[in-house]
């Protein structure tokens, strides 16, 4: 993200926005809004003054400053020094700065970091609303459960390498999905039937986990063999499970208790 807005130079390749380098944009703040880290303000300046000098730099009308302050709910503290802001308030100010030029492309790096639950909900809805208005919103996060609630499309990057680029639904379906939870009083008989059908069964105590058959196929098997079914639930892997599965080999800092890491350590 820092490369996209030209703060860092890539070792090779380039990052373009709508076919242009960020530095070549006519009015950068009117085209791209970025929240890269919460602390990008001088602590002694007020929130309103921070937005004012930003606005002046891209010829953005002054009224817009109060508009975005209102949008993120900072109007009442607009004349307070930013240094006295809580993490949540600085985050809101960062979002206000990104929205200042009313840009069509928005970049948010870890936007919910340090926010309280209410703030997290607010950001989540806010990001979705911005996307609904037809803007492109690129959000990075380590909170995978958060992404499953916010994102449409996913780009998974591990150790600087692109691992996947897909939609959230596809991503989950592709990795790990397809198991079905089955609760039946006829466990032994059902296990035999399913095994014959070529699927695998695992006994989880009160229930069976079936892999290799859909819930409708299992239902049909039950009827054909006169076996009772109390519950039949398709288990969709959570985004987090899917992510973990996919990035297993790409984790940078692995706890040493993991068997894999020990093996590597011994070889070295």
């Amino acid at each position: 993200m820092r490369m996209i807005v030209g703060l860092d130079l890539p070792d090779s390749g380039s990052a373009l926005i709508g076919g242009k380098h960020y530095a070549e944009l006519d009015w950068p703040l009117r085209e791209v809004g970025a929240l890269l880290d919460a602390k990008a303000f001088h602590p002694a300046r007020t929130a309103r003054n921070h937005l004012r000098w930003l606005a002046l730099g891209n010829d953005i009308p002054r009224v817009r400053v109060d508009e975005v302050l209102d949008q993120v709910g900072l109007t009442s503290v607009a004349n307070r020094r930013v240094g006295k802001f809580s993490l949540g308030m600085t985050q809101r100010l960062g979002i206000a700065a990104a929205l200042l030029g009313d840009p069509g492309v928005l970049l948010f790096d870890e936007p919910v970091n340090g926010l309280d639950p209410e703030g997290i909900r607010w950001v989540r809805h806010f990001l979705r609303d911005l996307a609904k208005e037809g803007r492109t919103v690129l959000v990075s996060s380590h909170l995978i459960s958060e992404m499953s609630l916010t994102a449409d499309r996913l780009v998974v990057i591990g150790r600087g390498r692109l691992i996947a680029e897909t939609s959230v639904a596809d991503f989950v379906a592709r990795s790990g999905g397809g198991a079905v939870r089955l609760v039946t009083p006829d466990q032994v008989a059902f296990t035999a039937v399913i095994s014959t059908a070529g699927a695998t069964v695992e006994d989880d105590g009160g229930s069976l986990t079936v892999e290799g058959l859909t819930s409708s196929q299992i239902g049909d098997l039950g009827v054909q063999n006169g076996l009772r079914i109390y519950e039949l639930t398709p288990i969709t892997a959570s985004l987090e499970d899917a992510f973990m599965e996919l990035t297993q080999d790409e984790v940078e800092y692995r706890p040493s208790t993991m068997p894999g890491a020990i093996a590597v350590g011994e070889k070295e």
């Binding site: 303000f41 004012r52 000098w53 010829d59 009313d102």
Partner: protein
Amino acid sequence: MSTEILLNAPRGHYRIKHVARSEIAKIITLRSSAITLGLTFAACLLVTGLVSHSALHHDPGYYAGFDPTAESLTGMITVALAGGVMGALLITSEYSSGTIRSTLAAAPKRPLLLATKVGVTTVLMVVFCEVLSFASFFLGQAILSGGGAPSATLASSGSARAVVMTGLFIALIALMSFGFGLIFRSTAAAIAAFVGVIFVLPLVMHGISESDVHYLPTNILINAIMSTVNQGPGGQFAPVSPTVGLVLMTVYAAIALAVGAALFVRRDA
């Protein structure tokens, strides 16, 4: 949402005037800028007042070779110190606070941004230092003439030159310090470099090469720029003429700024 603003984006692209407005707003909106300028103003006039006052009521022998112009500009030494610190802070505070990332988001063309920043800093420093230089001169002369000591006017030989050049010279010192700020990006390091060049280097140079001491900023300022006596190549203390001294200082500031600019344009922010 006001998509009409997006549609109303002005033609063309952001220019120096937009960046300049932005930079000026940044300076104005920090209370510390006004406080620093105000304190510097007060400290300068206080030093000039004290020094001029202590030059009163001496035996006639004391006034042989007395330089009323240099006497009244003594307070400008404090301006050199404050200007050096301010010059560095104008850029290093952006790095320490993270503001630089907002600045680069609004004006990602780094050469344009830096040129504007240097321009704004130059105008601010030149105006401030010139105003103080004249104020210091007039205050000092009022005290000297009021106390019956030898005094000067702007019409006196070399006085107007000394007053104008002192302001310019100190503005150049501040710009050199701005260059250090660009190079080091840390306030402590930039100010250490500035203090090293201005206060430590002259002392060290005495032990290395006595004849080269005259080319150091501090010595040029005191012996050539601020003085109206003992001028020119013949003088014992000022082998550098005021004009050569000012050119040298311009070169020093330009070197610091050029190195800083080369790093600023390439380095990750």
